[in-house]
């Protein structure tokens, strides 16, 4: 193992330009992927924030028995689609209106706003169909006067989400594939540059595992370094964008570690495949 490590490091010191080039290549392909990831991540969280506000509001007829509405709230909370139910009394509705629309304070008088039941939906049930289904079930209560949920808005939001998901998946896969191909061929070049060493090792009777080890270490290290460099690059970009363009969220530490390890893994697998080609015969 010590020899394998020494030989792997020797590859770096003997061909610093080639090594630096492959690390940079790996870094930039992961950087492109990382940037895309950042954009996707932020779009997703923005969309999720908007979606959280999808709610169905059932207005309650004046003079309804409070017990009946309280019982209804309990029933509704048990719907599988429902995340939370809130009963907003006439007084609360008035207070909220005054708070949110302060400049029209004088306009609001007691009794002008009806009480309502506000239903928020669980994630995954914020599509138009689920929203409609829930509102139909609210209609059943005879104390319900009117139901609103911003039909058009919910539909647009859903469409946006579908498009974002499809675009994210296809672009993400493409970026990942490009990164893998670029990293793979970079690693392959490094192995090719040392095919003579491999031939000699085979000739003098080194086992395949022994021949592979330094290359696997080298590939792993290159992927790791490339991944770290890509992380630094995305961080710098992120800071820059944060300062001059828009506040955004960065990868959490779990995603960052996962990204760097992903780079290392691609380097490792790329090496394994490339060396395997040289060992395949006989």
């Amino acid at each position: 193992m010590r020899l394998a490590l020494r030989e792997a490091l020797r590859a770096f010191s003997r061909a610093p330009m080639l090594s630096a080039l492959s690390v940079t290549t790996i870094a930039f392909s992961l950087f492109a992927f990382g940037l895309f990831g950042l954009v996707a991540l932020n779009l997703r969280s923005a969309l999720a924030q908007v979606e959280e506000r999808v709610e169905v509001r059932a207005f309650i007829a004046e003079g309804t028995n409070p017990e009946a509405t309280a019982a209804a709230v309990g029933d509704i909370a048990a719907f599988p689609e429902v995340a939370s139910v809130r009963l907003v009394s006439e007084v609360q509705a008035l207070e909220r209106a005054r708070r949110e629309l302060g400049e029209f304070e004088d306009v609001f008088e007691a009794g002008i706003l009806p009480a309502s039941i506000e239903v928020r939906l669980r994630e995954g049930f914020r599509d138009p169909e689920s929203v409609r289904a829930v509102s139909r079930r609210l209609e059943v209560y005879d104390f319900v006067d009117d139901i609103r949920y911003g039909e058009e808005w919910v539909e647009k939001l859903h469409k946006l989400r579908t498009i974002a998901t499809a675009a994210g998946l296809s672009l993400g896969l493409t970026f990942a594939l490009v990164a893998i191909i670029i990293i793979g061929s970079t690693i392959r070049m490094a192995v090719l540059a040392r095919s003579r060493e491999i031939a000699i090792m085979r000739l003098v009777g080194a086992t395949n595992g022994f021949i592979r080890a330094p290359f696997l270490i080298e590939g792993f290290l290159k992927g790791l370094l490339g991944g770290l460099l890509a992380l630094v690059l995305t961080w710098v970009t992120f800071q820059f964008v944060g300062q001059y363009v828009v506040q955004a969220t960065y990868f959490d530490s779990r995603l960052a570690v996962l990204g760097v390890l992903g780079g290392a893994l691609i380097g490792l697998l790329g090496s394994a495949v490339s060396v395997g080609r040289h060992l395949g015969r006989v």
Partner: protein
């Protein structure tokens, strides 16, 4: 020690590189392989160090049969063979002694044994004074000596030399050839592929002559095969034993000694 039995080798394109060849080589022999380019000399050597497998027939080397040998047994066999080539195949970024040491390191030799072994074998090939020279600082003949040192450092049963003097001038050629004879004199068998007919004819050594894959002439074994020759075992499962000093393989009690 080496026995070919009706060995044929086809490459995917082209005709047979070797066609129904049968012969054997004993421990300690010196054998020339001659014939024009493409006659099958290199193929025979490749079949011995298992860079190729026969299409038909059987190649036995040091008790291992090409028919039954698995991929995982190949490295162990190669540790008992030394191979040199026309183009030396040294690593350009390593000194003479590093090139030789490399061959020991990659088979897991105890690091403490490497230094002395390398020094001994470089002395044997007459390059002790140039141990720290890089290949490009050495003449062709000297580079070939480094390659020979690398091939010898594991005390092989046989040294396989594929046109070892093909790139050398006359003086270097004589020097290398003399070195191969000296090595042979210490008990290591040598198989040397060459198309230097003048050299072959000037000496009364055993000669296998090939033409278009056929073995057309065999001047005959220098001495008959002892009964135990073919079944000398490759050292046991402990691979480090291979790297240790001269594996004692002379007294395996096999009975398969048929030779013709």
């Amino acid at each position: 020690m080496i026995r070919f039995t009706h060995v044929t080798k086809h490459y995917p394109k082209g005709g047979p590189a070797l066609d129904d060849a049968s012969f054997h080589v004993n421990r300690g022999e010196f054998v020339f392989l001659t014939g024009p380019s493409g006659a099958g000399k290199s193929t025979i050597l490749k079949l011995i160090y298992v860079d190729e497998r026969p299409s038909q027939g059987e190649v036995r080397v040091a008790g291992q049969s090409s028919v039954t040998m698995t991929k995982h047994e190949i490295p162990a066999l190669r540790r008992r063979l030394g191979v040199i080539f026309q183009d030396f195949r040294l690593l350009e970024d390593r000194t003479a002694e590093q090139n030789v040491a490399f061959a020991l390191e990659v088979i897991g030799t105890n690091p403490q044994q490497i230094g002395p072994k390398v020094a001994r074998v470089l002395t044997q090939v007459g390059l002790a004074a140039k141990a720290t020279a890089l290949p490009h600082e050495l003449s062709g003949g000297e580079q070939q000596r480094v390659a020979i040192a690398r091939a010898l450092v594991n005390d092989p049963l046989v040294l396989l030399a594929d046109e070892p003097t093909g790139n050398l001038d006359d003086r270097s050629t004589r020097g290398i050839f003399q070195l191969l004879r000296d090595i042979n004199a210490t008990g290591t068998a040598v198989m040397m592929a060459t198309h230097d007919l003048a050299l072959v004819k000037s000496l009364d050594f055993r000669t296998l002559e090939l033409n278009r894959g056929k073995l057309v002439f065999d001047s005959g074994a220098q001495f008959p095969a002892p009964a135990d020759e073919f079944d000398a075992p490759v050292a046991g499962p402990d691979m480090s034993a291979l790297a240790a000093d001269h594996p004692d393989t002379a007294d395996a009690g096999g009975s398969d000694g048929a030779a013709s």
